[in-house]
Symmetry: C2
């Protein structure tokens, strides 16, 4: 593989001059520039990004840390990230995390790092990590999580949960239950509990009761949601509407309803959260949070930070919106 030395020798110039040509410095005469460029084309020289990074003291790779990247909400966000990074001069290094140990290892790595910047999705850093990151010179942006003192892109999950519940209340429902995740100690995901809080708020505002058993929390998953729904449907006073903390869980609810012969939306209204790509297909009413946009926005933020911009408003809140489809209907 040709090096800058080879080019310099063949063109009869010094390495400095070649470097200037590569980096489009104006301090080269047109004649020299042309000659060097010709040699570069001839031998197909490409600078080593490794050597470049070492010399410059900064690399052109961004670490993107995501949890469970099989979840379609994560994939949708990641697509936004990938698209924006693709349009820049940076490369995307992907770290998938599915255990707390992995997460901690990744974070430690991020704080150190030969990566130019770090983007962290949904995961909660400990205070210690936050301090380390803030101290480290490498810029960090969080997606789907608010972190005091560090830039982040987020949506208001509590408000989203409230909107979802109000949609059902507006349809005349009064027996409204919630299917969500247990607070995950190890990962510290908060979106599900925030949405639950929004549900509670809406119920209280409307003066509606939340009977025992109407709040089902379990591990995150379609099959778990299936079980949670069976539980709800077997209550003495089963709900006529269900707020699910995610679309994946809503799918589990729909499945359980179908298996139990409960008609949706005739006998049961179901609203999800996220608006993943399958949601329109299944006719799921849901709270749309712009997954793609959160990723794209965060990546754009990170890149601006790397460009040395100081942002007056380093954090971005994206709105949520109810998308009405076929899984919710007025109480009959």
């Amino acid at each position: 593989m040709a090096t800058i030395q080879d080019v310099a020798r063949r063109a009869g110039v010094g390495v400095g001059t070649v470097s200037r040509v590569i980096n489009e410095s104006p301090l080269v005469s047109e004649a020299t520039r042309a000659r060097v460029q010709q040699v570069i084309d001839e031998i197909g020289y490409r600078p080593s990004s490794l050597a470049r990074a070492l010399s410059l003291g900064r690399s052109t790779t961004l670490a993107v840390i995501v949890p469970f990247f099989t979840r379609s909400s994560v994939v949708a966000r990641l697509r936004g990230v990938a698209d924006v990074i693709d349009g820049s001069d940076y490369d995307l290094v992907l770290y998938d995390v599915h255990t707390p140990e992995q997460r901690d290892r990744r974070f430690e790595l991020a704080a150190r790092a030969d990566r130019a910047g770090v983007l962290i999705m949904s995961l909660a850093p400990s205070d210690e990590v936050v301090r380390a990151l803030a101290a480290a010179s490498v810029p960090v942006v969080f997606v789907d999580r608010r972190v005091e003192g560090l830039p982040h892109v987020f949506t208001d999950d509590a408000e989203g949960g409230r909107k979802a519940t109000n949609h059902l209340i507006g349809l005349g429902h009064t027996r409204i239950a919630f299917v969500g995740d247990r607070f995950d100690e190890s990962f510290g995901f908060t979106s599900s509990i925030d949405r639950l809080a929004g549900y509670h708020l809406a119920m209280i505002e409307a003066g509606l009761p939340v009977p025992a058993g109407y709040e089902q929390v379990a591990d995150h998953g379609r099959e778990e949601a299936h079980r949670q729904t069976r539980e709800l449907l077997s209550l003495p006073e089963p709900p006529t509407a269900i707020v699910a903390a995610s679309d994946l869980q809503a799918f589990g609810v729909l499945e359980a309803a179908r298996d139990a012969g409960v008609d949706v939306p005739g006998d049961l209204s179901v609203i999800g959260y996220d608006d993943v790509p399958m949601a329109p297909y299944l006719g799921l009413t849901t709270v749309q949070q712009q997954l793609y946009d959160t990723g794209a926005e965060a990546a754009a933020l990170l890149i601006r930070l790397l460009a040395g911009e100081t942002l007056e408003e380093p954090s971005v809140e994206l709105p949520t919106e109810i998308v009405i489809r076929r899984s919710t209907a007025p109480l009959r």
Copy 2:
């Protein structure tokens, strides 16, 4: 950030010795090793992987080039790749490709590259690129595609298409149609046409006719498949069974059937291809190709190549298998 020099100075040794400690060379006395290690721990020194890579002449990042990584089949494969890479000392650099120009740029980059190895999913390289890759010292593995002379992991798409069709024939169907993608000139994806070839073969073997209009090809997508199915259902002799070239397309078929009031599997049997995560949920009978495993296998192959192993059998074929669910039934 501390460097190896700092450590050497503080420990009162030479940089060579520190390097030996880091790399667990046996040529260091226990006493020295302990002292150096202590300094390392004290100041929290981590070697720069950049400098290391430059010095060693090889990096520890693998380029993974995928098309449209929103497609769930691609994501499933990618998960296999990510899991295996995560267990190694390599990092995963993701390149998403959704235009032919991007593809060519990525390939060029791959042949050159400061990446230790390259994994290419589904995409077709030109002969020129194949030559360049074979010539370049960087190992390449292909997934979901056979490439003469280079290692690859693949399944037999024609055989899969044949199996799918035979499943329907075995259920007594004779009017069997096919919904697939048009040959994509720009990307050169071949799986859909291979599956179509398998469908044809099975029909011929069974002595069944393929009436005009029974072969629907269009761009890849759920909505396109929806339209293709409407076309089929409006034929004078509509099919009683449909082979779809992918699960995504099968979803479009199911949707169209539902919209047209055609009962599945009562009036129409539908079989998909891939077995993506949503398939069990929707009860789709499908040809399972081990998406996760193809990715994992390919990554493992690449890593063995990088370890210097010479593989007697550099390519791996993975089997396909019919998974029967609720979308196919005997002809009534």
